[in-house]
């Protein structure tokens, strides 16, 4: 769809593209690699913004209502995919689409209304400038109350590099500034209603597989107890006990007031009920009571970023700030981390501001200023790397490839550290969530301090994540399911026989293509680095005296990946994973 001339073209998804890249992230990455000119300004009309679902979306497969947004990130300059739950993805698939590819720029604000097979570009000036909740309500009124909305807030409209796309008011495709790309196209929202049942290849087989998959979720401690009862904030206590809860912009790994911002405390003081995304039996989302109002969240990462990262222990305030970010359409992780960075710059006399660790005064207003690009907020909206560099201390930005790192001090987890350094989209915990095996013991507990074997494990999880993101399923299912389970569901849905090992090959193909994209943009091994703080030991807590041993793991990682010393895939490896053919 061109937003420049408002032309719409429908293309069938080629079987080769599906077999090679499945959908979601993989499909989007392939399109971006093929269609984007190198070194393109991510905010230019030529950048593509892709909303994509996967081959199991809107089927009975648990958690299959998600969607992925794929674009070139204005924050990182890398290829980027950002995912959200809710039900938007299910509607998009039921309307008949594997992906919507948006290019160009509208001359005035618009929104897209997809009502099954009818698609309209509508005037969006009535919601331009409105927050994401008001926008959602108004667009549902203008279209269909049963529809789903994915929209940007003021942050996306103003091209803030930390801008998210919000669906169902509090589920965010949060990271990498995907909302800014949407705003650069003058696209306020995509509204979709899909009602056509999605056919699968083997209904009976899928029923059996799904029954088993649901049973496994019920049998798993994490997916049946911890997440449903506490939501993702269950991690606060666990990660703090390990001395890995980043505090005061990663200066410390233990937050003295962790109990006050824990999942347990959230349950006692503010939780109203669980929130389930489409088809999800886990229900890790929270609805919290704030004053007389019910608001979404907070998730663990958001709670950390707006709390311990900034030294803040006021849970009610954290919920308020989280809600403000959702309304403004901002990535909570990057906002919290960038504010934390500013607090440390102030602490160290590098920045003249009123920001202080542990103090909330003025921060809510600052969040608004970030969204509207005002004053200090305008600077912060460029992300922590640009901000810290501008103030002469780039080392104080806790980021990889300009994406702010989430809520795990990497000194306490060697494998997770390697995964973060080599992530194709920058500082991300989900490309290879080694917190599972290194901290939570899922599927088994491995020694978090050892470096031996970690490159192999990171690669396994990166490949699996790429495949899961291309099926567009929730990461939490992997606590309960093994690789073979994903492959079986995919086979049932599509009729294409895919084994566990072949699913990992697809993941590896996607990972390598992302790497090629980033190499083409100029990224090298120098970008697979961590902030210098991680090479100095934590002073106290459960991860004291530890540093990241990246220098031991990275060469092994490249060798196992089949990449050269600069982190570039070799021809042999590309041939082996089938990129040359596709």
């Amino acid at each position: 769809m061109s937003l420049t001339d408002r032309s719409i073209r429908r293309e069938p998804l080629s079987p080769g593209l599906f077999k090679g890249y499945l959908g979601g992230r993989g499909l989007g990455v392939r399109m971006l690699y093929d269609r984007l000119e190198p070194h393109l300004d991510p905010m230019s009309p030529s950048n593509l913004l892709i909303f994509a679902v996967g081959p199991v979306t809107a089927t009975s497969v648990p958690t299959a209502g998600r969607f992925a947004v794929i674009t070139k990130s204005p924050l990182t300059g890398t290829v980027f995919d950002s995912h959200a739950g809710g039900s938007f993805g299910a509607h998009l698939r039921r309307a008949g689409y594997a992906a919507i590819v948006l290019e160009g720029r509208s001359t005035s604000p618009v929104y897209l209304w997809i009502n099954d097979d009818r698609t309209e570009i509508r005037d969006g000036s009535g919601v331009w400038g409105k927050d994401t909740s008001v926008t959602t309500s108004q667009l549902l009124q203008e279209t269909d109350s049963q529809a789903e909305v994915a929209c940007i807030g003021p942050a996306g409209e103003h091209g803030v590099k930390l801008a998210a796309i919000i669906t169902d008011r509090h589920r965010a495709a949060g990271r990498g500034g995907v909302g800014a790309v949407m705003g650069s196209k003058n696209l306020k929202a995509v509204v979709v209603r899909g009602t056509t049942k999605v056919a699968v290849s083997d209904e009976e087989g899928l029923n059996k597989t799904v029954e088993r998959a649901r049973r496994l979720i019920k049998k798993n401690q994490v997916t049946d107890k911890s997440l449903p009862i506490y939501g993702t904030p269950v991690l606060v206590s666990l990660i703090n006990e390990h001395g890995m809860l980043p505090t005061f912009n990663f200066q410390e790994g233990t937050f003295n007031d962790a109990e006050g911002v824990s999942g347990e405390k959230l349950l006692e003081r503010f939780s109203v009920r669980q929130y389930h995304c489409f088809g999800c039996p886990i229900g890790c989302g929270r609805i919290s009571r704030l004053g007389g109002e019910e608001v979404g969240g907070p998730e663990y990462e958001s709670l950390w970023a707006l709390g311990p990262e900034c030294g803040i222990n006021d849970l009610e305030w954290i919920i308020t700030a989280n809600n403000r970010c959702n309304l403004m359409g901002l990535d909570t992780i990057s906002v919290g981390s960038t504010v934390g960075c500013a607090m440390e710059l102030t602490q160290k006399g590098k920045l003249d501001s009123s920001l202080r660790f542990g103090e909330t005064e003025g921060v809510l207003e600052l969040i608004d200023d970030i969204a509207f690009r005002k004053g200090l907020g305008a600077e912060l909206g460029e992300g922590s790397r640009a901000f810290a560099s501008n103030h002469g201390s780039p080392e104080l930005a806790m980021q990889v490839k300009a994406l702010e790192l989430p809520a795990y001090d990497l000194r306490g987890v060697q494998g997770h550290a390697l995964g973060s350094a080599t992530s194709n989209r920058g500082g991300c915990h989900l490309r290879s969530y080694l917190i599972g095996p290194e901290v939570m013991g899922a599927p088994v507990l491995v020694d978090r301090d050892r470096t031996e074997g970690k490159p192999e494990l990171v690669i396994l999880f990166q490949n699996l994540s790429a495949a899961m993101d291309s099926m567009v399923l929730c990461r939490f299912t992997s606590f309960a399911w093994s690789i073979d389970d994903y492959a079986e569901m995919l086979t049932n849905c599509t009729g294409v026989r895919i084994s566990g090992p072949s699913l990992l090959v697809i993941g590896e193909r996607i990972w390598n293509l992302e790497r090629l994209f980033n190499n083409r943009e100029g990224f090298t091994s120098r970008d697979d680095q961590l902030p210098p703080r991680f090479f100095k030991p934590l002073p106290e807590g459960g991860s004291r005296n530890r540093v990241v041993h990246l220098e031991e793991m990275l060469p092994k990682y490249y060798a196992l990946r089949g990449w050269d010393k600069e982190g570039r895939p070799t021809k042999e490896r590309l041939k082996r994973v089938g990129i040359d053919k596709t």
């Binding site: 798993n220 013991g441 088994v444 507990l445 020694d447 074997g453 494990l457 093994s482 690789i483 459960g542």
Partner: protein, 282 residues
């Protein structure tokens, strides 16, 4: 110097692993529905047995009647401190109701008193009452020194038990490879060794199997066998742990153990060849 990786035993499959597991539910609050689920899972995965409390035996026997999944029932559980007559009566009754295996808790205090006659006659009473049903004797290793464990194993063997078993799951320690190895070395190859308590992952399971266990008691059986499918994708799962991770001395807990037993374990740390690795508790 430990090798970097261990290995999954070459001939171990998901099915074989399942056939070594007693799928266990012994919590006092377990409702009828839970036992139903336990039996259904045992049938689906073909576990060796379900291991349950006496009040559920009749129902489980009915659920499993046309299968090769056995019903194992605990006796004198979890303290083992009741009268031998009561244990014998309990064993006789559950066997009459259809239990094919009984897991009795030995008289732990008597063993610590070195009242070996009482310990042995207690075991013999249950073995006799169980008749054709196989008796497993739970030592509750967390209350014992190594010498006491060895003695208990020998008494169980003399009393005619089929298995010695590490723990109840309610005591101070779960099964450790160290204890399983000690028990296997003591009873020899012709008697069963059941590892029970704290086996939550396939790695835990494989470690005690390698140490000599031929039966495992798990309440996380489904996760153990399901997660075993991950083994094919990486060798790192079987990477050797820090020695302390699986050592009984690390599990020692003064709040749960007699002072002398606790100190017995902790004093071993002082002379342990791996003591330099014992810095942090993770």
């Amino acid at each position: 110097m430990l090798p970097t990786f261990g290995a999954v035993p070459m001939d171990l499959t998901v099915e074989k692993l399942a056939r070594m597991i007693d799928h266990t539910e012994l919590k006092p609050e377990a409702k009828h529905e839970k036992i139903k689920q336990l039996c259904e899972e045992a049938l689906a995965y073909r576990f060796a047995a379900v291991c349950i409390n006496a009040s559920h035996v009749q129902y489980a026997v009915e659920m499993l009647k046309d299968s090769d999944v056995k019903v194992a029932c605990v006796i004198g559980f979890p303290l083992g401190a009741t009268l031998s007559e009561v244990k014998a009566y309990e064993a006789k009754e559950v066997v009459r109701l259809g239990a094919q295996e009984v897991d009795m808790v030995m008289n732990i205090g008597a063993l610590r008193d070195k009242n070996y006659d009482l310990v042995k006659t207690d075991m013999e009473a249950v073995v006799k009452a169980a008749g054709d049903a196989h008796t497993k004797v739970i030592l509750e290793t967390g209350f014992l020194t190594d010498d006491e464990k060895r003695k208990a194993c020998l008494l169980a063997k003399e009393a005619g038990a089929y298995f010695v078993k590490t723990s109840t799951g309610f005591g101070p320690m779960g099964a450790t490879p160290y204890d399983v190895r000690l028990m296997r070395e003591t009873v020899g190859p012709d008697m069963g060794v059941k590892a029970a308590g704290g086996i939550r992952s396939f790695k835990d399971a494989i470690q005690v199997i390698e140490a000599g266990a031929d039966r495992l008691g798990c309440s996380s059986s489904v996760a153990v066998v399901e997660d075993f499918r991950w083994a094919q994708y990486s060798d790192i799962w079987m990477q050797h742990d820090k020695p302390c991770w699986t050592c009984p001395s690390r599990q020692a807990n003064l709040a749960k153990q007699p002072k002398d037993v606790y100190l017995y374990y902790k004093q071993r740390c002082l002379t342990c060849p791996d003591r330099e690795q014992n810095i942090f508790n993770d």
